[in-house]
Symmetry: C2
């Protein structure tokens, strides 16, 4: 089992605000992939994230617990991602909202997994920035981290 | 087995430059922990990384391959870190230096591991910035990612 795990703390934003940023087109487009479409706020819905020429991912919404949890399964995209799950667990603590993130189900710790681990960190910093300052850095304005991008 | 894996690409910097940033006080102090001391460029040496009131880590240098690889073992610091290894694998590719990073040997995917995974990503972005622009963001000028900091 090889998982990508992250944690980020968001100050002065409620878990409800974080949940909105994870379940609305406006939110997802403002920290992860500009132009996100599909059905992002219904269990069973399919969300389409696109990253220009690099393609993208279709995610099926598996669980939604308002202000608490969002769970997706990748149903289309790069082979290594298909069948993996992406889990956002929101925990309020002392005026912060802590986001525990898990991208699980990778079969092997491939090159692409190393890239995605770092890149998820960059995008979670973008989520934090969006909620704290009103401005994230979603694709195509994301920080490019290596020669793939 | 739970590992923290990352990859970052550094443009217009050689693997020799990256190796220097991983094995010299000046380099380590400029992207990770300001005021790094100890013996950082000898196999068997012990490097001391400190983060103010939060304490720090003592690392024993296990392997050094110039312009290729740096491997440390944690011998003092937070209990979860002791005995874990930190591995920087440098690979030149098409004018870039790719850094494959592994922090291995975690016993359990604890809360602190989630934090450290994101924080290593932030510090690897700092390493990239140091080598590409001359300016990193080491502690205490690092991006704070959650309520622990």
């Amino acid at each position: 089992m090889v998982d990508i795990l992250h944690k980020i703390g968001i100050e002065k934003a409620s878990a409800t605000d974080a949940y909105k940023a994870l379940t609305s087109h406006d939110g997802l487009s403002a920290w992860w992939a500009n132009g996100t479409s599909g059905d992002s706020d219904t269990v069973g819905g399919v969300i389409k994230f696109r990253f220009g020429e690099r393609g993208g991912f279709d995610m099926k919404v598996l669980k939604l617990e308002p202000a608490r949890r969002v769970l997706w399964e990748v149903i289309d995209g790069p082979a290594e991602w298909i069948g993996t799950t992406i889990d956002f667990d929101l925990r309020p603590q002392d005026g912060w909202t802590l986001v525990y993130f898990k991208h699980q189900g990778w079969k092997e710790p491939v090159d692409f997994m190393h890239h995605c681990s770092t890149k998820w960190g960059v995008f979670l910093v973008s989520l934090k920035s969006l909620l704290e300052t009103g401005k994230g850095a979603p694709y195509p304005d994301d920080l490019k981290i290596d020669s793939w991008e």
